[in-house]
Amino acid sequence: MMNFPGSGILKGMVVTARNMIGSYFDRAHAKRLITEQYPEERPTLPEASRSFPFLVFDGQDPEAGMRCVACKICEKECPPQCIFIEQDRDANGKLLRRPKIFDIDISVCMGCQICVESCPFESIRMDNIYEMSSCDRFGSLVIHKGQLLKSNEYYRSINPTEAAETDARIEAARIKKAAAAKVAAEKVAAARAAAAAKAAAEQAAQPPSEPEQPAP
């Protein structure tokens, strides 16, 4: 319709004008003004949002509830090799199933979450904190075990869906383990009972030389 020389430029100017006026009527940050005014407005991060890994512990005491067993699978799998683990030893120098040192260099970490996927103990998970800047290039960008350990409640707060799945898995594993233990215990008990019964039968077959045999 309108197609004289220069009309394309006018149409373009209509678009910019519409966007300018529209930006003043865009309250919900939905359509046009998507900028977040950062320190005042914080983004609502989706559950899956990830930045750097952290270690989950159960209960109240970080050291006691630590799920990590220092198996070093994540250290091996980490593509940029940003994890450093040293296994703890007890007083006798015997290796313990927990890390003495667990460091993550977040200046190297690329947040790929392969450590999370490879951890068989549901111990390492992705955090969503993003204010990690610091004035110290070397010291404060290596995060140590103490800072890395965060409670399961925290994990539930940042990523409830996945945390629930993890908890369910652990619970299932625990139940399974308990059941297995119970079965094993019952088996042992049954075996013993059988042995006892057999012994009793044998005893019964033999003359009762020692009648007061306590039951196992």
């Binding site: 220069g6 004008a17 300018m20 930006s23 003004l33």
Partner: protein, 416 residues
């Protein structure tokens, strides 16, 4: 509202009276008998100083405001917020203090002069740039009886001083000893010389009809209404509209603004002739460009938009200088708007546009204006002048520029 209307002039008069009274008081105290010529000379000097200070203050404030509003408007057009942080202590004031922060930053930055640069010319270039830019606004009539310097050939003065900008740009580009700078300078000069022609030609059109080169005379020629409803501004005539558009485009090019920002085209020439400038020298270039832009927009307001005149008599209660600055602000806004919309010309296209479209169109506007003038400004004149500018426009537009691009209907094949 007479008070507001007369406020600037009354202030000036008050200061002059004050100076006269203080001098007289001192002389009588000291018992000195001054020769008769001293007091008028002193008062002339003071009145010149008042004008200089007022002009510089007004244009600096406008520059500061423009630098923040341009960014904010541009941001809004691009769906951003723009600068909204810098304020006064806890109060952010929508980022209005941004220019202050920018100024402090520019002042405290290191002034780097490249080792291979021609130091003297490199130093002189910003001065040559800013001096004409600050002198340019003196001939504009800001309000009724508010012309800082009344010149009978003020329009000519404007263009004569505007020529200094080219020199400064060349000096900046050449002295920087940088290939980008030289290319930017060459582009700038080619562009400014090419666009000066249509610019001057469209001003000539107005001078022809108004019969004067004095800005005040041109504004006065635009008073009243034609046909009883249309303000007599030149932009509301066919030839005037065309000349106004040409002047506006020329103004965009002269002030190196998008889409004619080739000299500093950052995607090609990093920053053109400004590449090697830093710190306050850069700020001075920036300032000169903005003040030059205001000045040329002010000239546009004077030539085509009726200067300080209100469009209708019943709007006269708004002071005349408010009308002038309002129109100026509107033009500045449209320049930002254009900048937000358009990509940049290529150098050969820019030259083609100037020489093959704008120059013929300005001649057409000249003929059209003459026809309009000599047929007695009636309906016949209107029809004829529309014809005289419309036909060349359509011919040039379709056959020289857009035929190649839009007439070959691009086909896009689709394969399943």
């Amino acid at each position: 509202m007479n008070f507001l209307e007369n406020l600037p002039l009354a202030t000036k008069k008050f200061i002059l009276d004050l100076v006269e009274w203080v001098c007289g008081w001192f002389c009588s105290k000291l018992g000195i008998q001054l020769p008769g010529w001293v007091m008028p000379a002193l008062l002339t000097l003071v009145s010149i100083l008042i004008v200089i200070v007022a002009l510089i203050a007004v244009f600096m404030v406008m520059f500061a405001l423009m630098s923040v509003f341009e960014r904010k408007i541009l941001a809004r057009m691009q769906n951003r917020y723009g600068p909204n942080r810098v304020g006064f202590f806890r109060w952010r004031l929508c980022g209005l203090f941004q220019p202050v922060a920018d100024g402090i930053k520019m002042l405290t930055k290191e002034d780097i002069v490249p080792r291979g640069a021609d130091k003297i010319v490199h130093f002189l270039a910003p001065i040559v740039m800013v001096a004409p830019a600050l002198i340019l606004p003196v001939i504009l009539p800001y309000g009724r009886g508010m012309v800082p310097i009344e010149l009978s050939s003020g329009i000519l003065f404007f263009f004569a001083l505007g020529a200094g900008t080219e020199l400064a740009v060349f000096m900046a580009g050449w002295s920087s000893n940088n290939k980008y700078s030289v290319m930017g300078a060459m582009r700038a000069i080619a562009q400014m010389i090419s666009y000066e022609l249509p610019l001057v030609m469209s001003a000539v059109v107005v001078a022809l009809v108004a019969g004067t080169l004095s800005p005040n005379g041109i504004v006065e020629a635009q008073g009243g209404l034609s046909f009883g409803f249309l303000p007599n501004w030149f932009v509301f005539t066919p030839w005037g509209f065309v000349a106004c558009l040409l002047f506006y485009i020329g103004a965009l090019a002269e002030s190196n603004r998008s889409p004619f920002d080739l000299p500093e085209g950052e995607s090609e020439l990093v920053a053109g002739h400004l590449t090697e400038y830093s710190g306050f020298k850069y700020a001075i270039f920036f300032m000169a460009e903005y003040v030059g832009m205001f000045a040329i927009n002010g000239l546009l307001v004077t030539l085509f938009l009726g200067g300080y005149q209100a469009p209708f008599a019943f709007l006269d209660f708004i002071p005349s200088w408010c009308w002038f600055f309002g129109k100026l602000a509107f033009l500045a806004f449209t320049m930002v708007w254009v900048r937000a919309t358009m990509p940049r010309f290529r150098i050969d296209q820019m030259m083609q546009f100037a020489w093959k479209l704008m120059l013929p169109m300005s001649f057409a506007a000249l003929i059209s204006a003459a026809t309009w003038y000599y047929t007695g400004r009636g309906l016949l004149g209107w029809a004829l002048s529309i014809l005289i500018v419309g036909v060349p426009y359509l011919i040039l537009g379709y056959f020289c520029f857009t035929r190649r691009h839009t007439a070959d209907n691009r086909r896009y094949l689709f394969s399943e």
